[in-house]
Symmetry: C4
Subunit: 240 residues, 4 copies
């Protein structure tokens, strides 16, 4: 409801303070659009024969999953911009940092998704990145864990910054609840990536893939969090 | 008429609810702009001699046709954004899916256009993608058919979603008729791609190219549809 | 003066009807920005040694000249958008066509500028595109001539379209004069490219480079045109 | 304070004349977004093995530093646009020139940062660009010095242009002080690059790296400048 078309600021709605796009958002949108395009159109690998073409098709599931993750991050940032309309030094710093993190993680993300689909399809889908030792596999999971952790901390920073500015922004109680919910969303993401990081170093070789599957815990956690959030919003609505 | 510069909301006009560009549109515009640029400026193939330059020139017709298709899809999406100004979860999901589909289909589209111009020019224009067996050719037509089908279903989804929200958007009867017309436009596209898909598997080898030429049926179908639409709009204008 | 910051619509000023950027402009800006970026950052040619770096530096003058031409075209289009704010079918068609022309011409433009600086620097600046026969050189000049001709015709089309819509746009006499001036600007560009085209085929080998230098006629022609235009505007101001 | 969310124009605040993004900014944002993306996603170097991946990770510090410099320049330009909202010929010329300078310097910047981190990490971080002679090293520092000098002169030009237009823009005394401060910021940058340029040619081989470390003088200089600026602003606030 909070995310639909602009509405008057009733109790139970979020005022969109950043209706017009600002400079950060255009910069972020262009960088993200460019990044996802590069994910697909790998210039060096335009298929030159039918066989290469079929091989390229087999990377579509991994691409789709990576694309979804990037769009999720972009959307989370766009929602933040739209709600608070902040364009000051800290907002620009955190937004630039987010672009930086995404740019660094874009190819590794695709790699991880390829390994996931390689695993799920029992080898039918390709994975072109041979890991030779157990330590290399542990390193990869560590690298992804740190990346996801940083993205999570970045969003916690963005929402906490908005909460710290709740007076000049004149956030309603409803909006404060909304912002706190978003902090919790990303705290969960940070906890799960910490869990994955630990598992990447304590699990024996045959269970190591669990360090990757840990991220699927996001789905049940977010369902629980979302239910609790709806109840909290309902309680505020009753108060008014 | 509905598509010209903003007008007051008289009977027979469409209110532009999304005059200011929103985040989805900037993201989509940047991704599409990047995609068409990549179509032309294939980094790996900057001509280094006069002969290569002339060869590059011969791909211009196929590029022009692919460019026109991408701009058509972009324009269809931009019109949808401008009319309804929706920026909620479903709009972002469907718009991202569209970007995803276009990015996957951009090089194959160019390939198909090259094969078309290779055929039409009786071999004077180049086609650098050898298909060796009949099954490979059937596969290519199937792949394109599915892609075009998905783009069509995506637009049907976008317009049906706008129609489902006609109350909060306060669509006028004129605008409802307009939205339904756009659903029909894409239903026709879906039917034609289904026909092409069937032909790709039932036609004998010597007639297989008809599976590709099926898409030219779009032109007469759209002429008929457009005429019927004008009459429907005239009928509404009379009622007022 | 017409081109400076927004002013109230006094006699002698131009109303900016497209203050907010529309979809075409974002698409065009992204495509042009990407195109100029690709001009410089030729992915395949990141210098790997000091010698390659120095060679790359020698292409800067040609890059600067190409960059200036692209920015000129982009600026001319942005001015048109800003003045008339048109976003209908014909505007999108002509704007897309302009993007298409620029994308096709971006690498050849750089090539032509390289040959110019190679010539002006008496061989000190590099030109990596050997032309072996006289016919090849004539072909190159013809190709550039046609491209510049098409860009010119495209802009004539854009301004004539704005003039045809002068009633719904409510153009003032001042603005009509301004639009007509811009038509003349591009008619001059078209005439000069026609002259270059003719020279490319009638000049003997030793004078062929004159077909390229013809484009420098733009500078004196625009000075004359600009003076006449100022007088015409002064005459309108007197009438009011 | 001047850089935070829009505020009413009290004494001690800056009116944002360019709240809506204009065409130059979108063009600049898109070009810069592409440029930073290209910095990371070097198409030709997608890691194909674990060893290449680890090597790619080692370039992250140099990338982060280059990214920060580009974002700094972009932000400085975006702030200028937002404060003065100028979109005339001179603004477009200076903004285009800035894009041009950044595009030329983007890979060399990364190179210089690599050499810095190579030096700081005592060779643990890679530097893939062998300089063989002392003259080559002097040349590189000269090249960077000139580039930074040009960026600084460009910004001095932008702020001086805004000051020259202070009457039509109706700049308050507070805003004039603010603009003058920004001129000083870039005069310092120009002086430091001049100092680096001189050092690059007078220092003996063993001290040559000091020509690069000269740029770290920016940090203390900006601290001093910022303190003086705060006092000047306080003095104005007292006058009101």
């Amino acid at each position: 409801m909070a995310d639909s078309a602009p509405q008057p600021n009733l109790a139970g709605s979020v005022t969109m303070r950043g209706e017009g796009m600002n400079r950060i958002e255009t910069f972020v949108a262009a960088a993200f659009a460019f990044a996802v395009t590069m994910l697909v159109i790998s210039v060096g690998s335009i298929p030159q024969s039918f066989e290469e073409f079929v091989l390229a098709l087999k990377t579509i599931p991994a691409f789709a999953a990576s694309f979804a993750v990037i769009v999720w991050i972009w959307h989370a940032h766009a929602t933040w911009c739209r709600r608070y309309g902040l364009e000051d030094g800290m907002s620009i710093f955190l937004s630039s940092l987010l672009v930086f993190l995404v740019l660094i993680y874009i190819y590794p993300l695709r790699l991880m998704m390829q390994s996931l689909f390689h695993f799920l399809s029992d080898g039918a889908l390709p994975f072109i990145f041979p890991l030779k030792t157990l330590e290399q596999a542990r390193f990869m999971f560590t690298f992804y864990g740190i990346g996801f952790l940083c993205v999570g901390l970045n969003f916690i920073g963005l929402y906490r910054y908005a909460l710290r500015r709740q007076e000049p922004l004149a956030l309603s109680p409803y909006e404060v609840t909304e912002a706190r919910y978003d902090v919790h969303v990303w705290v969960v993401a940070v906890c799960i990536s910490l869990l994955s990081l630990i598992l990447a170093w304590v699990l024996p070789a045959q269970w190591l893939s669990l360090a990757g599957f840990t991220y699927f815990l996001l789905f049940p956690c977010y369902t629980v969090l979302d239910n609790r959030h709806r109840k909290a919003l309902a309680a505020i609505a009753v108060q008014d």
